[in-house]
C-alpha cells in the first residue's frame, strides 16, 4: 500500500506531463519458461478472482526504443488519464527510477486482488523519461521531459469471497492471511513427539462452496517435509454458513527450524516449527543412504520411500541407516531395540540389544523392501522410541516409450535442463532412475568430474512418473539440470523404470577451440602481469601469443609467442581431476614506463584453431 501511495504522489506531481507513445513493449511472461512471451494486448482479460484472493500477471517490460529510458513508475489507475490508484490492483517486483538501456528489460507483477465483487477495470499507466537530444535524467543540464502512457486496459471479474481459513490458538480463533510474511508457528516439538494443529475452513456466504484442494506442496526438493496433512474429513462442498476441519501435524525428526507451506486452493500459507531435544534419545541424528549414494535426513511426518521393485523377482530395495550420537551430545544413549513392521520390510546388520551409543559414536544397519506381490506396501521403523513410517511400491508397469529432450546447447561449459517425456500419458505411476555416463573423445582421458547432475552432484537420480503424466519428475521438478564439463566426448543418459527396457540417448560434446573465459591484465612495475583462465576440451592447447598495444591502440613491437604444449600436457594428463580447465599467469619484465602499455591480446591455439581475447591493463 505504501508503494501505491508513493506512486500516486509521483503521478500527481507530474500531472502536467504529456501522454506519449511508450518506448516499452510489454509481454506477458511465463516464469516457468514453458510458454513464450506474448505481447500484452491493449485490452487484457484477467482470470476471474474471488474477493480476498489474488491473481498475478507477470509482465516483461522491454525497452524497444533506441534511447536510454528512465522508468519512473507504473500504476494501475481508475481511468486512462487518472493518477488515482485502483484499489483492486497492486504492482510488485518493480523498482522506481530505473534506467533501461535499449534492448534491456525488467520483470514485474500486476496483482489483480479485488476488494469488491463484480466487473473490474484498471488502466496500466507508465511514467518515464527518454534520453534524447542531449538531455539528462537528473543533475545539471537539460532534464529529460517526463511522459506517461496508458499501455493496457485490464479487465476482470471479482467473484464471491473466498472461504476463510482459521485455526484455534490459546487466545481464540485466528484468521490466516495468504502469502503472509509471518509464517504460522507450530510449537517447539520433541523428536519423539508431534504437534497437530486443526484448521477450519468456513463458508461465510449464502451459497454452498466447493471445498478447495488442501495440500502441503514440496518446497525443498532435497529434504522430506516435517509436516503431514490429514484432510480426509473434508467434504466435497461446504454448505452456506458451514465449516469443515483438517489437521496438519508437525512431526520432526531433525533438530532446528523446519519450514513448509500449506496450500488451500490457490492460496499459500507459510508454516514452520522447530524440532528440539527434550528426551535423551532426541539427540540421535538419524539418516539413511540409498543405492545411488544420496543421503537423506528423514522426518517422521514423511514416509521413508523404498521406491519401486518388481514383485516376486526376489529383488530388494535397500537403504543403509546411520544412527549417530553427535560429539556435542551430553549423554550416552541406550537403545533397547530397533524393529521393523509391515509386509515386505526387513532389517539386518543390527547389533546386540540393548546397545549404548556414546557421544561421537554411531551404529549403522540396513533396511530392505522385498515385495512378493504387486501393490503398495507400508510399514514402520522404530529406533528406540523414534518412529518412522515406510512405503514401497511393487508394480508391473506398462509405461509408454519415452525420450529425452534438452533446452540448451550441448557443448562444453554449459548448464542444461533435460526432460524425460513419454509418447503418451502413463497409465500407471512408477519410480525409476536416470543415469548419466560420460565418454571422453580425448585419447587417454577417462572422465571429467564436472559432468554431473546439479541437484545432487552425482550421476544418478531417482525419478518418478505420476499416473496420467507425460513427463517424469525429479523431486516434483520437470527440468533436470546437469553440467556438460570441459572435455569433448559424449554424454549418455539411461532411463530405467521397473519392467521396462532401459532407454538410452547420447549427446555429443564436440571438440572446439580453446575458450579464454577470463583475461586480466595488471601493471606491477617493472612487470606486466597477464592472468588467463579458461579451458580446452580437446586437451591439445600449445602455442600462446601476446600482442601488446600502447594507450593509443598501436601495436608495440611484434607479438611474443611461447609454446606451452608441455605445460598443458602435464596439466591435462598428469593426475587430472578437473577436465580441460587451466589457469596461468604470464609475467613480462619491462624496461621503461609500464603505463605506456594500454592493452594486450592473448592468443591460444589448439588442434582446432586459435582463440583470442583482449584486456586493458589496470
Amino acid at each position: 500500500m505504501k508503494s501505491l501511495l508513493i506512486a500516486a504522489l509521483l503521478f500527481a506531481a507530474n500531472a502536467a506531463y504529456g501522454q506519449t507513445t511508450s518506448p516499452f513493449t510489454l509481454y506477458v511472461h511465463d516464469t516457468t519458461g514453458t510458454l513464450p512471451d506474448t505481447v500484452l494486448p491493449s485490452i487484457d482479460q484477467l482470470a476471474s478472482t474471488p474477493v480476498g484472493g489474488s491473481t498475478p500477471l507477470v509482465l516483461k517490460m522491454l525497452n524497444t526504443s533506441a534511447n536510454n529510458v528512465n522508468f519512473v513508475v507504473a500504476l494501475v489507475s481508475t481511468s486512462s488519464t487518472s493518477t488515482a490508484a485502483n484499489p483492486n490492483f497492486s504492482i510488485t517486483g518493480l523498482f522506481q527510477n530505473q534506467v533501461l538501456a535499449p534492448g534491456t528489460s525488467v520483470l514485474f507483477t500486476v496483482n489483480f486482488a479485488p476488494t469488491t465483487a463484480g466487473p473490474v477495470t484498471g488502466y496500466l499507466n507508465l511514467e518515464f523519461q527518454i534520453q534524447q537530444n542531449g538531455c539528462v535524467f537528473s543533475g545539471t543540464g537539460t532534464i529529460c521531459a517526463g511522459n506517461n502512457s496508458n499501455v493496457s486496459t485490464l479487465t476482470g471479474t471479482a467473484t464471491a469471497p473466498q472461504l476463510t481459513l482459521t485455526y484455534q490458538s490459546p487466545t481464540g480463533p485466528v484468521v490466516l492471511i495468504p502469502s503472509s510474511s509471518s509464517p504460522l508457528n507450530f510449537p517447539n516439538t520433541s523428536l519423539t513427539s508431534t504437534s497437530p494443529i486443526t484448521f477450519t475452513l468456513t463458508n461465510p456466504t449464502s451459497i454452498p462452496a466447493t471445498t478447495p484442494t488442501v495440500s502441503l506442496p514440496v518446497i525443498n526438493t532435497n529434504a522430506p517435509s516435517a509436516f503431514s496433512l490429514n484432510a480426509s474429513g473434508l467434504p466435497a462442498t461446504i454448505g452456506a454458513g458451514q465449516s469443515a476441519n483438517f489437521t496438519v501435524t508437525f512431526a520432526p525428526s531433525q533438530t532446528g527450524l523446519a519450514s513448509g507451506e500449506l496450500q488451500v486452493g490457490a492460496n499459500i500459507y507459510p508454516i514452520q516449527g522447530a524440532g528440539v531435544i527434550i528426551a535423551t534419545i532426541d539427540a540421535l541424528q538419524i539418516s539413511y543412504t540409498d543405492a545411488t549414494g544420496i543421503r537423506t535426513l528423514p522426518q517422521a511426518a514423511t514416509p521413508i520411500s523404498f521406491g519401486q521393485v518388481l514383485p516376486g523377482s526376489g529383488a530388494s530395495s535397500v537403504l543403509t541407516f546411520s544412527v549417530l550420537n553427535p560429539t556435542t551430545s551430553a549423554n550416552s544413549v541406550t537403545l533397547p531395540s530397533i524393529t521393523v513392521s509391515g509386509t515386505g520390510f526387513s532389517v539386518s546388520g543390527l547389533p546386540a540389544f540393548p546397545v549404548t551409543i556414546a557421544p561421537g559414536n554411531s551404529l549403522s544397519f540396513k533396511a530392505a523392501f522385498t515385495p512378493v506381490s504387486a501393490g503398495t506396501f507400508t510399514g514402520g521403523l522404530t529406533i528406540g522410541s523414534r518412529t518412522f513410517s515406510l512405503s514401497g511400491l511393487s508394480v508391473s508397469s506398462a509405461i509408454p516409450s519415452f525420450s529425452i529432450t534438452t533446452n540448451g546447447v550441448m557443448s562444453s561449459q554449459q548448464q542444461v535442463n533435460l526432460t524425460v517425456q513419454l509418447s503418451a500419458p502413463s497409465p500407471v505411476s512408477a519410480l525409476g532412475t536416470i543415469t548419466m555416463t560420460f565418454t571422453p573423445s580425448v585419447a587417454s582421458v577417462t572422465d571429467d568430474p564436472a559432468v554431473l547432475f546439479l541437484a545432487t552432484g552425482g550421476r544418478q537420480l531417482n525419478i518418478s512418473l505420476a499416473s496420467g503424466a507425460q513427463t517424469a519428475t525429479y523431486n516434483s521438478q520437470f527440468a533436470i539440470s546437469f553440467q556438460t564439463g570441459t572435455t569433448a566426448g559424449s554424454i549418455t543418459f539411461a532411463v530405467a523404470f521397473p519392467d521396462t527396457a532401459t532407454y538410452t540417448q547420447s549427446f555429443a560434446i564436440p571438440s572446439a577451440t580453446a575458450q579464454l573465459t577470463s583475461v586480466q591484465a595488471t601493471r606491477e612495475s617493472p612487470n606486466l602481469l597477464v592472468n588467463i583462465s579458461g579451458y580446452d576440451n580437446s586437451y591439445s592447447a600449445g602455442q600462446l601469443s601476446f600482442t601488446f598495444y600502447d594507450t593509443t591502440g598501436k601495436v608495440i613491437g611484434s607479438p611474443i609467442s611461447y609454446n606451452a604444449s608441455s605445460g598443458f600436457q602435464q596439466l591435462f594428463f598428469t593426475s587430472n581431476t578437473d577436465g580441460g580447465l587451466f589457469s596461468l599467469q604470464a609475467s613480462f619484465p619491462v624496461s621503461g614506463d609500464v603505463t605506456q602499455v594500454g592493452s594486450v591480446t592473448v592468443g591460444l591455439a589448439n588442434s582446432l584453431g586459435q582463440a583470442t581475447s583482449s584486456a586493458a591493463f589496470q
Binding site: T31, Q98, L454, T456, Q483, S591
Partner: protein, 268 residues
C-alpha cells in the same frame, strides 16, 4: 601460482623465456547448508566442489587470498586451504563478516557487543562503535583503506541506511539512505545486491540495475543467504529450495551458475 617469466624483454623487444606453470582455476571457497566449507574450482557453468572440507562454519566470507569464518562463537582468519592464521573469541552467534581482498580488510561486526573487530596484520583488534543512530539491523559491513567502515542498516520499514564510521573512534561521520534498496543488502565489486520475490536485484552507483531471476516461484522474504567466495564470486543459497548458485561479478557484468551440492561433489 608460479608465473611465466619473460626475461630480457626491453620494452617489447622479443626474446621470451617462459617458465610454464599451469594450474586449475580456483574459483573460491563456499560454505554449504550443513556448515561444511569447501574450495571450489572451475569457471562459470562448470563448477567443481572439492570433496575435501577445510572445516565447518556458521558463516564465512572469502577473498582470493584470505577468508573469515565464524564457528561456535569464534571468528577465525583462515587461508583458502583452511590454515588458521588468527582467532578471536567473539561469543557472537551471528556476526556479520566482511572481507574485501587483503587480510587487513577482514572485519566482523558483533551486534550484541556493539563492537567491530578487525585484523591489523598481526591480531584482531576491537573497536567499540557508537551504533545508537543505526536503529535497525546491520546486514553488511566493509572496512575501507582510509580507516573508515561502512555499515548498511536495514530499518523496520525495510529501508536501508548507510553509515560511515571513523576508526578507531567508532563515531558515525555520515548517514545516507540507499533510495532503491529494500531489505538486507550485500555489496561486492561495486554491485549492491538485494532480494526480490523472484531472485536478486543488482545495482551499481551509476544506475545500472539488473534483475537475476532465480526461481519460477516467489521466494519467501529473507530467503537468500549471500556469502563471498572470492574477489569476484558470490555464493547465493536459498533456504526454501535448498538451491545454491555462484554469481560472478565485475564492473561490467554478472553471470549466475548453479552450484552442485557439497554432499557428494567431486567425491563421486
Amino acid at each position: 601460482m608460479k608465473p611465466f617469466v619473460v626475461c630480457g624483454w626491453v620494452l617489447f623487444a622479443a626474446g621470451a623465456m617462459l617458465d610454464a606453470q599451469l594450474v586449475v582455476p580456483q574459483l573460491g571457497v563456499a560454505r554449504f547448508s550443513d556448515g561444511s566449507v569447501h574450495p571450489i574450482r572451475g569457471v562459470a557453468a562448470n563448477l567443481i566442489v572439492q570433496a575435501r572440507s577445510i572445516g565447518n562454519a556458521d558463516s564465512a566470507s572469502f577473498s582470493d587470498s584470505i577468508g573469515l569464518t565464524s564457528t561456535n562463537g569464534f571468528v577465525r582468519l583462515v587461508r583458502p586451504d583452511g590454515i588458521v592464521l588468527g582467532e578471536y573469541r567473539s561469543g557472537e552467534q551471528q556476526p556479520i563478516l566482511a572481507i574485501d581482498s587483503a587480510a587487513q580488510s577482514a572485519a566482523a561486526w558483533l551486534p550484541s557487543k556493539h563492537v567491530l573487530v578487525h585484523w591489523d596484520g598481526h591480531q584482531f583488534v576491537e573497536v567499540p562503535i557508537d551504533d545508537s543512530s543505526f536503529v535497525g539491523r546491520v546486514s553488511f559491513v566493509s572496512l575501507k583503506a582510509d580507516n573508515t567502515a561502512q555499515f548498511f542498516v536495514v530499518r523496520d520499514d525495510s529501508s536501508v541506511a548507510r553509515f560511515q564510521v571513523t576508526l578507531p573512534s567508532g563515531r558515525v561521520t555520515s548517514a545516507d539512505i540507499e533510495p532503491s534498496a529494500r531489505g538486507p543488502v550485500f555489496v561486492q565489486q561495486g554491485w549492491m545486491l538485494t532480494q526480490d520475490a523472484w531472485g536478486l536485484i543488482a545495482e551499481r552507483a551509476n544506475g545500472n540495475r539488473q534483475t537475476i531471476q532465480l526461481s519460477a516461484k516467489a521466494l519467501p522474504a529473507s530467503d537468500l543467504t549471500m556469502e563471498r567466495m572470492s574477489n569476484h564470486w558470490l555464493h547465493v543459497s536459498s533456504k526454501s529450495t535448498g538451491t545454491d548458485w555462484a554469481l560472478y561479478l565485475d564492473a561490467g557484468k554478472l553471470n549466475i551458475s548453479f552450484m552442485p551440492p557439497a554432499a557428494i561433489g567431486a567425491a563421486r
